[in-house]
């Protein structure tokens, strides 16, 4: 079922709250992976507030949907979501990255409630998600496994090992995303290590590819809804074209904001920018929503 305008607006409000919490956390921690955190936030929002069948009161419920953040360095975006959903104490965000905190750059499944896999070493998340998806088949369960990868991460050979295997084993209960923000630590992806023709590569590996604007919650929702019909008969890759640092004008699209520090001035500027961004997003939902 497509989003109603009201549902879309409610999700925009939540995404705005989470973007702000991501910026706050970066500020409290002094620095963080805010660029790739903000680019992935709409995907996290639609998954956690629309699709994931999970229960914060029973985080290890065996029939829950699984979510693997393969681009584990976006923990600074994921932690606010897990707090907001009620899995973890909100006060923990203020300790992010501090010595003995439960929350560090890459979220640890043993310490942060609601984390299904401790990621961080790139390339591991997709095959872990595939194992989870195939386990559902073996155990006779009908949960979904979702996985979000970074685009630079797709330089890793292990991603393609898993892509080949997902198609081979017909893992139609796996829904994968790539956060295509076109940036990596050392520069634009196409300069550091060319990925294009990227969608074709996924198709060649046996995926049904849906390209969307990754900063459009409605498009993301449609793609996930389609994947869940299993109509493609193969695993689905949602190629989400995003903007690194989406929502904060002075860092948007700049690969140097892979990891950065937010001083007081930059933080204030960021908060103002996020407010403006939210207004524009609401205006779009008002205009395009049905």
């Amino acid at each position: 079922m497509a989003l109603t305008k009201q549902e879309w607006l409610a999700l925009e409000e939540k995404a705005n709250e989470l973007r702000n919490l991501c910026l706050d956390t970066t500020h409290w921690a002094g620095s963080g992976h805010i660029g790739g955190g903000l680019s992935v936030m709409d995907m996290l929002t639609i998954l956690y507030y629309r699709h994931l069948n999970i229960d914060p009161a029973n985080p290890t419920w065996e029939d829950r949907d699984r979510f693997i953040l393969s681009k584990g360095h976006a923990g600074i975006a994921w932690a606010p979501v897990l707090v907001s959903k009620g899995f973890n104490d909100p006060e923990q965000l203020k300790t992010f990255n501090l010595t003995n905190s439960k929350m560090g750059i890459h979220l640890d499944a043993a310490k942060v409630v609601g984390v299904d896999a401790s990621t961080g070493s790139l390339g591991h998340g997709l095959p872990i998600a595939l194992g989870s998806a195939l386990a559902a088949r073996v155990l006779g369960k009908d949960y979904w496994t979702y996985c979000i990868m970074g685009d630079g991460e797709c330089d890793e050979g292990e991603i393609w090992e898993a892509a080949m295997a997902a198609a081979h084993f017909g893992a139609t209960n796996l829904i994968a995303f790539v956060d295509r923000n076109k940036c990596m630590i050392d520069g634009p992806t196409e300069e550091v290590m060319k990925l294009e023709p990227f969608a074709d590569k996924w198709r060649a590996f046996g995926f049904h590819v849906i390209e969307v604007d990754g900063q459009n919650i409605n498009e993301l929702d449609d793609a996930i809804e389609y994947a869940k019909t299993k109509a493609a008969g193969k695993p689905v890759l949602i190629l989400a074209n995003t903007i690194k640092g989406a929502g904060i004008a002075h860092i948007e699209g700049d690969y140097r904001w892979h990891y950065g520090a937010m001083d007081e001035a930059s933080y204030k500027k960021g908060k103002d920018s996020l407010a403006q961004y939210y207004q524009a997003r609401v205006a779009r939902a008002e205009k395009e929503g049905k």
Binding site: E62, R66, I68, D108, A109, A110, D116, A117, S118, G120, S121, G123, H124, G125, L126, P127, I128, A129, L130, G131, S132, A133, L134, A135, A136, V138, L139, T145, G157, E158, E161, A162, M164, A165, H168, F169
Partner: protein
């Protein structure tokens, strides 16, 4: 041990060690629907393919892609399955070290790695296929239990123990046939407990895997020829190590030799050395194995002979160490 795992002595000489593993895994699969098996195009070589024949819906051959396979195994385990994963030891320990470290050990995932072609047992394949430092790597990962069975029966025991004990396991077995050490699985195998193969008070030989049989042969020969009472310990579990058995050997015999099909750096010899050093109990001590060198190409038994970890090599080293008069020697000039 649980399970009806008694094979006859006839079977025990007719089955390769990996075939014992394959049989044991099939039985576990019959008993437990959550057991799954993964391999990377080595179903036949590692004998995990026997499970695939019995339970095709729970068998995943991922092709020649070890890294993805170990990550997938972690995903299976986190979802409630008990994955057994088999490939050659060198690929499990080195090619997929990051995946085993981050996805399996860091997350304490219930994954059982049964790594075949351990040590120099695939001798003719050369050093790309020799696992000379897998024990060093695996034992350095927190949460990992490391077992090197002496033969087929011990492999059966180790595999069943791995199923019954939550957490990651690395079990290293050899290619082909091992010399038979146990003709029944009923000899009191316990994870983390060394087995005294021969009692002795003059010197102790500590062994694991293929050197256990060799050490027993050496002890028997030295008993007859030299009148020496050689203790032999089968330290099948490298981690958690049986510290008590090692220290008792140090105390009782004051002469210790470790023989293993592995580099002397980081393996069983190194574990024993660490225990001795930290205990502050001196003893005459030698590590036999690869002396920071790659192994030659050849038959496993020939390589073992060249490395001095076969019975003849152990006999020679025992005689050498027996000559050491370490307790009365105050002169450190030749030591430093």
């Amino acid at each position: 041990m649980a399970g009806g795992l008694t094979y006859t002595a006839v079977e025990s000489t007719a089955l390769s060690t990996a075939e014992y593993y394959g049989k044991a895994l099939c039985e576990l699969g019959d008993e437990h629907p959550e057991v799954v098996a993964l391999t990377a195009d080595l179903g036949k070589s590692t004998k995990i393919g026997m499970f695939g024949d019995a339970h095709p819906e729970r068998y995943f051959n991922v092709g020649i892609a070890e890294q993805g396979m170990f990550s997938m195994a972690a995903g299976f385990a986190k979802a409630g399955c008990v994955p057994f994963v088999s490939t050659f030891s060198v690929f499990a320990a080195l090619r997929a070290a990051d995946q085993v470290h981050a996805d399996i050990c860091y997350q304490n995932a219930n994954v059982k790695i049964i790594a075949t072609h351990g040590g120099t047992s695939f001798g003719q394949a050369g050093s790309t296929h020799h696992a000379i430092c897998d024990i060093a790597v695996e034992r350095s990962f927190p949460n990992m239990t490391v077992i090197v069975p002496a033969d087929g029966m011990e492999t059966v025991n180790a595999v069943r123990a791995a199923y019954e004990t939550p957490g990651p396991f690395y079990i290293r077995i050899n290619r082909g046939f091992d010399r038979v050490v146990y003709d029944s699985s009923d000899y009191g195998f316990e994870v983390g407990k060394a087995i005294t193969m021969r009692e002795g008070t003059d010197i102790t030989v500590i062994a694991c895997g293929s050197t256990v049989f060799q050490a027993c042969q050496a002890a028997d020969f030295l008993g007859n020829a030299d009148g020496l009472k050689v203790r032999v310990l089968n330290v099948h579990t490298i981690k958690p190590i049986d510290k008590e058995a090692v220290l008792k050997a140090v105390m009782d015999t004051r002469r210790v030799i470790v023989a293993e099909d592995h580099t002397i750096i980081g393996g069983l010899g190194a574990v024993v050395a660490e225990i001795i050093a930290e205990a502050g109990k001196g003893c005459a001590f030698r590590r036999l194995g690869l002396q920071d060198k790659f192994a030659p190409i050849g038959l496993h038994e020939d390589i073992m002979s060249i490395l001095g970890i076969d019975s003849n090599g152990i006999i020679e080293t025992v005689r050498d160490v027996m000559k050491m008069d370490f307790e009365l020697d105050d002169n450190w000039d030749d030591e430093v």
